[in-house]
Symmetry: C2
């Protein structure tokens, strides 16, 4: 039977951007924490995997965002594994506010990495069994991020920092998100909020790498942005985001509720 796990989370100051709402990179950090707690409850915590020389790596996020929670707001994060095949597992997350309304849905694709070789591993039955997800031979063909118009793309360069590297010895996936979004103008990021996003992680970024983050808009007044993270000439991550203009001052501050 499909095992679902729920955890409440109050949004801290350090999780928020200048507009007092949760950042996408912190959302991802929180989802990964809930996912680990789910796994730990099923006896499949990170140390269980490590003892077997394995780590979960994330390959894809797909976000549907009604609104990001605000500073001091308490939300419930639910997660469950939906399906797996020999190479991938599919996990979903639902973030709900105090009225029990779903405000964020996230679909994710995970794979297993053999720590020694850093290559993908087949998923042992022992690892996935407790989650109660459905086995399906079919490997999903999920929508990919749109192409970037490299002719007119804006770009910024980043060096990997010491604290970008996580215990898996590569850049943590949440750090890519800052590189992806930081190429957009501050005015754009302040004026709009993210409604839908797809991020695919294609290759690890490692210590010493210099990264170029490129972004293009589909047209001047269009609210789609397409992104690539390059190391030299190789794409390491890709993303497409759809934005909506902030039409109202939303007030979900914990103090106002």
């Amino acid at each position: 039977m499909k095992q679902s796990y729920k955890q409440n989370q109050v949004i801290s100051y350090y999780m928020c951007d200048r507009n007092r709402t949760l950042t996408l990179s912190m959302l991802v950090n929180l989802l990964m924490e809930v996912s680990e707690n789910h796994s730990a409850g099923l006896g499949r915590e990170e140390s269980f995997m490590r003892e077997r020389g394995l780590s979960w790596i994330i390959l894809r996020y797909e976000f549907d965002i009604d609104r990001m929670p605000a500073y001091k707001e308490e939300v419930e994060i639910e997660t469950f594994a939906t399906e797996y095949n020999k190479l991938f597992t599919y996990r979903e997350f639902i973030v709900r506010d105090k009225t029990n309304a779903s405000i964020i849905k996230v679909k994710t694709t995970f794979a297993l990495m053999t720590n020694e070789t850093r290559k993908m591993a087949r998923i042992p039955e022992e690892v996935v069994e407790p989650y109660g997800a459905v086995f399906s031979k079919r490997i999903r063909r999920d929508a990919k991020p749109n192409e970037v118009d490299l002719e007119q793309a804006d770009e910024k360069n980043y060096f990997v920092r010491y604290f970008d590297i996580d215990p898996n010895q590569h850049v943590n996936n949440s750090k890519y998100i800052d590189w992806l979004l930081d190429t957009l103008e501050p005015e754009f990021l302040s004026k709009n909020h993210l409604r839908h996003g797809v991020i695919s992680f294609d290759k690890e970024v490692k210590e010493g790498d210099a990264v170029t983050s490129k972004v293009s808009r589909r047209s001047e007044d269009d609210l789609h942005t397409d992104h690539r993270i390059f190391v030299k000439d190789t794409v390491h991550a890709a993303a497409s985001f759809k934005w909506t203009e902030n039409t109202r001052m939303e007030s979900h501050d914990g103090n106002d509720q």
Copy 2:
């Protein structure tokens, strides 16, 4: 009477560095969260200050670190305001492990900023009264960070990123810490742990600023590092850290306890 506030905290994956221990910047984020919760319990939460056009800003940290908590470890963070004068308040934090042993002590100096002018404000009695701290006319002369040897300093350059800016519309103090430490070699940061540190924040860093972080060692095999954060020719923050070599593999992983 002095009001003390305690909160338990489990260390998440996203709070840790590659060695599975809490980072200094996340420590600071957690301390600020506990401080805000303390204030909220006394009716002096951030929105109370904001309604009066005021924000707390941090001017100085002094850290004494026996060890940083490990991934999944649960710690208790205690905080209390010790003393104040017309311009500054002094707040301390103690982090304790499950055996109730103190593993980190932090002394901090706060001031009030008038949001409109971004200048320091006198501290109204109404604001500090509930904390039960002692009023003292005396303004402390705390130890300052050591000079940096600019002749032999290493340096790295950083641009302020969109997500470095917090709701106070300047770079969050935790972000300076990544700039300060990232100038040190990865081998140095992996091999040593921080035992003592002083950071002073002298000027705000803002959107659009380009930052130079400089560091010098007192001698080749010395474990003191002295740091400055410059914007153009002006020092915006200064720090001195004392390090100790990791002599043992510490195991405080939640799974091992």
